[in-house]
């Protein structure tokens, strides 16, 4: 059989790990890695935290910061064909058409195109409105992080809360505007979200919850109740949208990301797999509902799974059934680690099993999340990693066999 030609679109964590796993399993494969950013694959989580802080010291900090973000690779030099600074425009069968007019002949395509920030559909204040997804976004935003500047963060999800915390550390005045009653509410549930709201307020953030942005007027952010906020820097942190436009004619279900099965194959499309933030799959640890999961661990886990699938199918074997990664995510705010396991967002009830939520930020707290009386998630706030690991092992045991939907 001829060596399989595999094109991975998205030169990010998922794309890189997929290329590594493919070449480990299929050394003869001809792998092309395409990325629309000009940078080699890098790590994004620090962009709202210590990397933003380091970049705020000035443009000279860039190279050293990027070197820490850059993902170390097991690939030998030249093992994959790297095409950076060029986007995929469309699929033509299983060939990939690029923005520079070229076309990459492929037998398999792995979609790892990730997300882009959602923007407010409003005009005005364009000279000071930022988003934070890429290294280049972080460079532009960091240049505005000056002590005493007035920042308005729109959206109190994880990115919004992290950049608010970083900006407070750098001495900016920060107002956080969130339409929901609490920050990070969907991910954390009402009790922990309320504790995080108190933590932000105790660090000097003006948190305006239950409020939305109606417009921009010069250097002012106008809220839905008419309040006007003077802003030197505005960050739109309203969540993200999947980059799937190039797959429009693929036949895949693109209703939210790319629907894939437990092998990361997209039903309806020919030899197309999806990995990372855009992959929507059911996790049998919880139920049969396919969901996208925007956690750091997912790109690596789905990328390896996709590589296993391609390697099995290229060598005439059946991919092993079942894919049930234990979700985990973290955030760092005001020097406190929030560490989650499982799916707290699916829970109906929250029980504090260690500590006291009123002490959040000063003493360790562990909260267990349950659905239909069974544990589905766990969050530690400044918790001892050993204690959290014990509860995580208990959660893993409780989720196996799977919880009925």
């Amino acid at each position: 059989m001829a060596a399989p030609r595999i094109t991975i679109v998205g030169a990010s964590l998922a794309g890189l790990r997929c290329a590594e796993a493919l070449l480990a399993a299929l050394p003869e494969a001809r792998v092309t890695l395409v990325g629309d950013e000009r940078h080699a694959p890098y790590n994004r989580p620090p962009l709202s935290k210590d990397a933003a802080e380091a970049l705020a010291a000035g443009p000279g900090a860039g190279p050293e910061v990027f070197e820490k973000l850059r993902l170390r690779s097991k690939l030998a030099p030249g093992a994959v064909t790297l095409r950076l600074g060029v986007a995929a425009e469309a699929l033509d069968g299983t060939d990939v058409r690029l923005s520079d007019g070229r076309r990459i002949g492929s037998d398999w395509v792995v979609a790892a195109t990730g997300l882009r920030p959602r923007r407010l559909p409003l005009t005005g204040a364009e000279d000071r409105r930022h988003v934070l997804r890429s290294y280049d976004d972080a460079l532009t935003l960091a240049a505005t992080l000056r002590t005493g500047a007035r920042m308005v963060v729109i959206g109190a999800g994880f990115i919004g809360c992290e950049i608010a915390a970083t900006a407070r550390k750098l001495g900016l005045h920060v107002t956080l505007v969130e339409p929901a009653p609490q920050p990070m509410l969907r991910a954390l549930g009402a009790r922990v979200a309320a504790a995080m709201a108190a933590l932000h307020r105790s660090h000097g953030v003006t948190l305006l919850s239950g409020r939305a942005v109606a417009g921009f007027d010069g250097a002012r952010v106008i809220l839905d109740d008419g309040q006007a906020l003077e802003a030197d820097v505005i960050v739109e942190a309203l969540g993200s949208q999947p980059n799937t436009g190039w797959l429009t004619d693929s036949g895949a279900d693109l209703s939210d990301g790319v629907l894939v099965d437990d092998r990361m194959l997209a039903p309806g499309a020919e030899n197309l797999l999806a990995v990372g933030d855009i992959a929507r799959f059911a996790n049998p640890l919880f139920d049969a509902v396919p969901r996208r999961t925007e956690h750091w661990c997912i790109p690596g886990q789905t990328a390896k799974r996709a590589a296993e699938t391609i390697a099995a199918l290229c060598t005439g074997q059946r991919p092993t059934p079942g894919f049930a990664p234990m979700p985990s995510f973290w955030s760092d705010q005001y020097g406190m680690r929030l560490q989650a396991f499982g799916a707290p967002a699916l829970a109906e009830t929250q029980t504090v099993i260690e500590g006291d939520l009123s002490q959040t930020g000063t003493a360790p707290v562990i909260v267990e999340y349950a659905r239909a009386g069974r544990p589905v998630g766990l969050i530690g706030l400044g918790a001892n990693p050993a204690a959290l690991a014990r509860h995580r092992a208990r959660l893993t045991a409780a989720l196996t066999p799977p919880v009925d939907a």
């Binding site: 790590n43 973290w330 690991a389």
Partner: protein, 61 residues
């Protein structure tokens, strides 16, 4: 194979403890401990732990 964790960049995410529990663990105080020399039979787990480290703190040599 030799395993080292650069504790100047480790932030105790604990992903290595999940990926390779025979090699990495937490002591009672929450500090990370690991086997500095491991059998080749655990190579895949150690590689998985290295890939799972958000800080790229694990060095395999």
């Amino acid at each position: 194979m030799k395993v080292h964790v650069d504790m100047s960049i480790c932030l105790l995410h604990g992903q290595c403890v999940i990926a390779a529990p025979e090699v990495f663990s937490f002591d009672d105080d929450g500090g990370l401990v690991w086997l500095a020399e491991v059998d080749e039979s655990l190579a895949a787990d150690v590689e998985a732990a290295s890939d799972a480290c958000p800080e790229q703190a694990i060095v395999i040599g």
